[in-house]
């Protein structure tokens, strides 16, 4: 083969070259998995002073294997060790891929929450005007603040009810975006407000009143979507700004009630459009035609405002140019006119992944490339993403498993250029034809899941289950239903169901277990290639296995989950992830799968 590899050891990524180890390599194996570069082990025959120099070196060295065209493998030297090898004393090194950089530090941030339990009453110890005992306050699936019969309310002294949501201590970012709908039914003279404290707790720092809603004596329903200056404490409040007087009405008659609430940090994008085509009247399953579909996805809550009215609507489904709202109930006479505002905050996984890159590079600047060009959006709005002291590796893996708005799978990892990728599975994959001389493979139903449902808790904290989703072709083929439960953190049924769909997409065909040792690799047009070109996510077609039954085809053509390359003999072991035939199988009606051949 014309491809020869070099192995270089740098002081750090972008640092000085410590050693061109290429001529000293006695053994070298490197592997790649679903998270990118995984592990490299090499034995080097070096002079004693070089052994101890590398062994005793400060810092974490950067190891690169390159063929001159691109970096084939890169990682950090975590475990240098001096050992006896076949040629006497040598250095054995183990380097691990830069996915490890996501386990160096923890991650704390709240991207979006719809959980009312995030709020608690503000006490008089914190804010002198607060008097929660004078009100009835609950956060069960809503925020409800109600004055009590004959209790005294006014501004001398102040008797204010406030509930606060506090951003996690030393988390990345602060609150910056809120959307909700408030229903206010108070006698005239009362004011509902929301605002922020700039300190780390209510009463700390400066208070900023974002806006107020004065009561009219009747039932008022107003929806808000509001970006505000970042602050760690967000409050809703209710007060009466006049001389103290006893409240005349029975407990529970008057209230300020917050529904459809969502609180986000400031790093997000938005839906910002208007209605077109026709006025939008009250009803269920109402079709609305927005001027732009940008950032709109199923399960999302948006504000609809126009004609002097507003409310929060839930997007049940998304078409090419229209959406269906589950219910519209607050339309003004004649409906929301054409040109009414549709807006709302959107949090997608790409924003979180990009922030993780920033978090890593802020602390360990060399461990990841700061570029985010390989990070793609899921196309979904993630309503509940709160992390405290979380492992970034686990977090990203979890985000990838959510799947896209259509249940499509995502892959996440770090490539040889130390770039974090988060993208649809297979979007950068290639197909190779291979010769194998050592095949060991078994089919197991252990990982077969052709049905799944999502588990989530609603905004009130009740455990909920989505309707089960299933893969009909898989159920027909394997004549068994195996159901998975997917735990989610969301409060949204649509999002939990999308996660269940992603699980079924991944598990509808049993993963073959085994290893193929490949001796020759060809491009699809027949050109011979070095074996190390095969990456996880690529599809390989084993030339020696004849096309035949569907089961055989699954062993003949599959998506690669893991590779292990031996640089000394040029061979590569690949492990399958799932058979590529799955994609064809799905395209056929149930019951016809057994006749497929590739």
């Amino acid at each position: 083969m014309y491809h020869r590899l070099s192995m270089l050891i740098y002081s750090a990524p972008g640092g000085s070259l410590l050693l061109d180890a290429t001529p000293y390599v006695l053994k070298c194996n490197f592997s790649q998995g679903e998270r990118g570069c995984e592990r490299l082990t090499a034995d080097l025959s070096l002079a004693l002073w070089q052994l101890y120099w590398l062994y005793d070196m400060a810092g974490v060295a950067h190891v690169v294997v390159s063929d001159g065209i691109s970096d084939i493998w890169a990682g950090r030297l975590e475990d240098p060790g001096i050992s006896l090898n076949d040629s006497g004393v040598g250095l054995r090194i183990t380097a691990l891929g830069y996915w490890r950089a996501l386990s160096d530090i923890q991650y704390t941030s709240v991207w979006s929450t719809t959980d009312f339990r995030a709020f608690r009453p503000v006490t008089r110890d914190e804010v002198a005007t607060a008097q929660p005992e004078a009100f009835t306050i609950d956060t069960n699936g809503r925020i409800n603040i109600a004055p009590q019969l004959n209790a005294s309310y006014g501004n001398s002294p102040w008797t204010v009810a406030e509930v606060a949501a506090i951003y996690p201590d030393k988390g990345r970012g602060s609150w910056g975006y809120v959307q909700f709908e408030v229903e206010l039914y108070m006698p005239a003279g009362w004011t509902f407000r929301f605002g922020t404290w700039s300190g780390s707790a209510p009463g700390a720092g400066a208070f900023t009143e974002i806006t107020t809603l004065a009561s009219t004596g009747g039932v008022q329903r107003v929806a808000y979507v509001w970006a505000f200056s970042a602050a760690p404490v967000f409050i809703f409040g209710l007060y009466r700004n006049s001389a103290n007087a006893a409240h005349p009405n029975q407990n529970g008659v008057n209230y300020a009630r917050v529904n459809y609430f969502r609180l986000c940090n400031g790093y997000n994008r938005a839906v910002a459009t208007t209605t077109t085509t026709a006025a939008v009247g009250n009803g269920t399953n109402v079709t609305i035609t927005p001027a732009s579909m940008t950032n709109i996805s199923a399960g999302q809550r948006l504000r609809l405002a126009g004609g002097g009215a507003s409310e929060m609507i839930t997007v049940a489904s998304v078409g090419t140019t229209t959406i269906t709202a589950t219910r519209v109930r607050n339309a003004p006479g004649g409906g929301y006119p054409i040109g009414s505002t549709m807006d709302g905050v959107v949090v997608d996984a790409d924003l979180i992944a990009s922030d993780i890159v920033s978090a890593v590079t802020a602390t360990n600047s060399a461990q990841l490339d700061s570029g985010t060009a390989l990070i793609q959006a899921l196309g979904r709005d993630l309503s509940d993403e709160s992390y405290e002291d979380a492992s970034m590796a686990d977090l990203l893996t979890s985000l990838a498993q959510r799947g896209s708005s259509t249940g499509g799978l995502y892959e996440v990892g770090v490539d040889a250029a130390r770039r974090l990728y988060f993208r649809p599975q297979g979007s950068f994959a290639q197909t190779w034809h291979v010769e194998a001389d050592d095949i060991s493979i078994t089919r197991s139903a252990d990982q077969l899941y052709n049905s799944a449902y999502g588990l989530y808790t609603d905004a009130s904290g009740r455990k909920q289950r989505t309707a089960a989703v299933a893969d009909a072709n898989s159920k027909t083929r394997y004549a068994i239903t195996r159901q998975a439960v997917v735990n989610t953190k969301t409060t949204n049924d649509t999002q939990a169901q999308a996660a269940a769909q992603a699980r079924v997409t991944d598990g509808a065909d049993p993963t073959p277990r085994g290893t193929f040792r490949l001796t020759a690799v060809y491009a699809q047009n027949g050109a011979r290639m070095p074996a190390y070109v095969i990456r996880p996510g690529d599809t390989v077609v084993v030339i020696g296995i004849p096309a035949g039954s569907a089961a055989i085809s699954r062993a003949r053509q599959f998506v690669v989950a893991h590779t292990a390359y031996d640089a000394m003999d040029g061979s590569i072991d690949v492990e399958p992830k799932y058979p590529a035939a799955t994609q064809l199988l799905r395209a056929l009606p149930a019951g016809t799968s057994s006749t497929i051949s590739l």
């Binding site: 590899l5 290429t22 390159s66 060009a373 003999d569």
Partner: protein
């Protein structure tokens, strides 16, 4: 009887056929095989074990043992050098007929834990001489390398240009080369780039991307950019009219011919963004007559941060069989936002025909501290004489005072050539410039000259 058979060591030659101290009795050179390891850096042929039976003589027993020690020292030095210690390489120098050649001695034979010497001392009373018959077991690199040919030179040309070096002598197999790249102007930084080399005409092809604009669909155009030293004065500009929708330009003939299956591709690109677009780009190999795509490189991502000219590796194009001149190339681009521009100055393709075709990325911009005066510019040096070094060397050198700075070659050296020619080209962008400039922030093009020395090599002694 050979003319020469000796170890050249740091402490002098050990002549195994001098007839006074040594008399080689039995040895047949082994022929090395193709090296199976894909790790590079030591040439394309495997290491091989040799055994030479030598009669060591001397007037006294001590003299015999002193001579034996010379062989022992040679093997020790060989091993130290191979391990990377600061010891000059040991060569086995051999001249069976008219040609003197040498092989790099690695050390003892594989897994040998003795000195590599089998010792059996005897006193010959009749001759009143001491002697011992020694079996010298050692490992050498597979190459037999001859002295370098006279330097071949290529005249100065603007960059990137393909230089052709024609050597006075020829190599039977891929032989190592010393290469010198010499900018003719004042420079104070050596830009990151990729050195391409091949030993046949057509191994390296450079295409002016702007020539693809003619006949391309809407959104593709040729735009003058001589200010920033665009090769040929212009660049190919692509402004996709729709987001996330691939558009492909017209094809141009080449690479010519795509005869050995696989070619590696680089392009000089610039994300000329005003709206923060991220581009994806790939190069296609297409049939000239039908336009059918034969293969494409993987997608390369060009983020908004790549807003100055940047050389990117696009991976490989493949072809199943030798086909002379009936293939062309085209470029496919998509962007997540329409109305932004991607500029492409040139596309370089290297045929990966055999070990005499290679790419050597030169890693990192080296700030050299001061400008070199015109007439005594810097040069990049790639030393490949594998008789002398345990590994090939690369560095930047001032031609005036010969001081050196590191030049990190991110691919195996030495540069190799077969026959008597070598073609080289250095692809690099430089700051805001599309090509090698005197300074990354000014726009004065560098012209460069190249010269080289070929060390003819073989695996069977001549």
């Amino acid at each position: 009887m050979p003319t020469t058979l000796q170890f050249n060591t740091p402490s002098g030659a050990v002549n195994l056929i001098d007839g006074t101290n040594f008399a080689a009795e039995e040895w047949t050179p082994s022929v090395a095989g193709w090296r199976r390891s894909s790790m590079g850096g030591v040439g394309p042929f495997g290491e091989i074990d040799e055994e030479i039976k030598v009669l060591v003589t001397g007037a006294t027993a001590a003299a015999v043992y002193a001579n034996v020690k010379k062989i022992n020292d040679a093997l020790l030095d060989a091993e130290r050098c191979t391990r990377g210690e600061s010891v000059t390489a040991v060569q086995l120098s051999y001249q069976p007929a008219s040609t003197l050649q040498a092989a790099h001695v690695v050390g003892r034979t594989d897994r040998d834990t003795t000195s590599g010497l089998g010792l059996d001392a005897t006193y010959d009373a009749a001759a009143q001489r001491y002697w011992t018959r020694v079996t010298v077991g050692f490992r050498r690199r597979g190459w037999w390398i001859q002295s370098g040919s006279a330097p071949a030179n290529a005249g100065a040309a603007s960059q990137p240009s393909v230089f052709a070096l024609t050597f006075a002598s020829s190599s039977d197999v891929a032989g190592p080369v010393d290469l010198y790249l010499r900018p003719q102007n004042t420079i104070n930084t050596w830009p990151t780039g990729v050195l391409l080399y091949g030993s046949q005409a057509g191994d390296i092809s450079i295409f002016e991307a702007e020539s693809m604009a003619s006949g391309s669909p809407l959104g593709w155009s040729s735009v003058a950019d001589g200010t920033y030293l665009a090769r040929g004065g212009s660049v190919l500009r692509c402004i996709p009219s729709l987001p996330n929708t691939a558009t492909t330009c017209n094809k141009i003939a080449g690479p010519s011919p795509m005869y050995y299956g696989v070619g590696a591709v680089w392009a000089a690109v610039r994300n000329n963004t005003t709206h923060n677009a991220t581009f994806q780009m790939r190069i296609n190999l297409v049939q000239t007559n039908t336009g059918r795509i034969i293969s494409s490189t993987p997608w390369a991502v060009i983020p908004p941060s790549m807003n100055t000219p940047t050389l990117i590796s696009l991976g490989m194009l493949t072809h199943s069989r030798a086909t002379a001149g009936n293939v062309s190339i085209s470029v496919t681009v998509s962007a997540d936002i329409s109305a932004d521009a991607l500029d492409i100055d040139y596309i370089g393709i290297l045929q990966l025909r055999d070990e005499t075709c290679g790419a050597v990325p030169l890693d990192g911009v080296l700030t050299l501290g001061m400008s070199q005066s015109v007439g005594t510019p810097l040069q990049a040096v790639f030393e490949g004489d594998m008789r002398v070094y345990s590994r090939a060397l690369s560095y930047i050198q001032s031609q005036s005072d010969l001081t050196t700075s590191p030049l990190v070659a991110k691919a195996p050296l030495p540069i190799l050539a077969k026959g008597n020619t070598l073609y080289v080209c250095y692809l690099a962008t430089h700051g805001t410039n599309w090509t090698f400039a005197q300074d990354p922030n000014s726009h004065v093009a560098v012209t460069m000259a190249a010269s080289g020395i070929l060390y003819p090599a073989g695996i069977v002694p001549k």
